[in-house]
Amino acid sequence: MYTLDNLWVLIAAALVFFMQAGFALVEVGFTRSKNAGNILMKNFVDFVVGTIFFFFIGFSLMYGEDIAGFIGKLDFNIISDRVKAFSEVPNLERSGLTPYTDFFFQVVFAATAATIISGAMAERTNFAAYIVVSVFITAVIYPIQGHWIWGGGWLSQLGFHDFAGSTAVHSVGGWASLVGTIVLGPRIGKYVNGKSQAILGHNIIYGGLGVFILWIGWFGFNPGSALGFNVTAEADKVLSVSSIFVTTNAAAATGFVAAMFTSWIKYKKPDVSMSLNGVLAGLVAVTAGCDVVSPEGAMIIGAIAGVIVVLSVDFIDKVLKLDDPVGAISVHGVCGALGTLLVGFFDTTNGLFYGGEATQLLNQAIGVVAVMGTTIVLSYIMFKVIDMTMKLRVSKTVEIEGLDIHEHGQSVYNN
């Protein structure tokens, strides 16, 4: 039903919006107090820049008229045109989402992709340069991949299944984070004689609150991606949405448990921030297939992600020696890819474990690799150009004394 569909998607979008607060808290909490204000600002910038640029540019590149399966046609007026067309439909014959609902739900997703990056690049990125990064991600990089997967592009034609964006949103953010981290280099003091040092987050309680907020936000992110809430003779979105609540929640729970026990076994103690990452890992991983897996399947997906995220954080930190303060690459990049692939196994209708064929898995792998490759190339170009034109990284003094004082002229904590 027109009204219910819109009501649900608007509420879901508001919840997804709230994830920005969650990301901000996790990123602030997992880093040092001298940079807290800067990270907060970056999280706001992600969202406000996203809102503006996705409105004028990103949305049409993603959902505009398809050009060769590769990109949508740029159209600054796409939204007002659609509203005009929609308004001409007699009220009682309207159906689906209004162009506003549609845009609003999409824009909060675009901002999510951008916000992932700020965590990985925390504590050393030039603020002005970061604003430009945000613009490119929401106006260009995210929309292109998004077009492939959700905008009628080649991946959606192929049958690639990424229901709510393990790949389209999280992996894009995660791989861009990977590249950003490489181009930036590690924070001063992170590697001493090649050995990784602990740089402690200054308030893990913020991180915990952030994860709770992200978790509730995900009840908009995943079930909202049904883009409606109705029942017809052909399909029952009510049942489907409610099942997505359960699968989403199940994966988050097992993600926590698995990460907690993995860290417990590996490090002898249950690590707080790793367990929190486990929740996010489970959520990211189940996002691709939350509509087609069973609650039990979701639990297994979450558990796998919870184990992998700990191993991945370790590997990236100690072996690859990439400095990702919040674990964004592992949570969003690695677990996003992982979860997308696992759809090929756990999809209850055509996953391998349910007697399906390998085609689905193959399609998933193609999508994962294509998005990873493209994001890496595009974001590498972006970071390099920005670095050359305006310097991506702050000076040594600024980094040591804190971005808050140098970039914003003040500390956020006082007496």
């Binding site: 990784s196 040092q197 602990a198 402690l200 987050g201 860290s263 590996k266 490090y267 103690k269 690590d271 921030s273 790793m274 700990v310 954080v313 370790d314 930190d317 100690k318 674990g327």
Partner: protein, 117 residues
């Protein structure tokens, strides 16, 4: 006058304070410090071990006139001691002059609010 600096366990602070007050040592300042010792606590954060090698302690700075040095030390020794490693230290150093900001009064008199007793 002497400055008696005592580094004690944070959790014993109340006890020490009460004991000091009981013997008439009612003026001092304190703040929280971290104490480095031989015991290297291995901690870890996100799987990376780090070595804080410090313990959270409380630092008491008590300036007293000579007559009070012994009783102050004795009181701290009694009230801050658990007998286990990590009880802390007391350091005594000379103070040449003490001045009460309120009225500019100097010397040992400045240490205790005589007129109020």
């Amino acid at each position: 006058m002497k400055k008696i600096e005592a580094i004690i366990r944070r959790d014993l602070y109340e006890q020490v304070k009460d004991a000091l007050n009981a013997v008439g040592v009612q003026f001092f300042s304190f703040w929280d410090v971290r104490g480095c010792g031989k015991a290297h606590d291995k901690k870890q954060y996100r799987g990376t071990e780090y070595d804080t090698s410090f313990i959270e302690r409380r630092f008491l700075s008590i300036v007293v006139n000579e007559a009070f040095v012994d009783i102050t030390v004795k009181t701290i020794l009694e009230s801050a001691c658990t007998g286990e490693i990590g009880d802390g230290k007391i350091f005594i150093s000379p103070i040449e002059e003490t001045i009460r900001i309120r009225n500019g009064e100097r010397g040992p008199e400045a240490i205790y609010l005589k007129e109020k007793e």
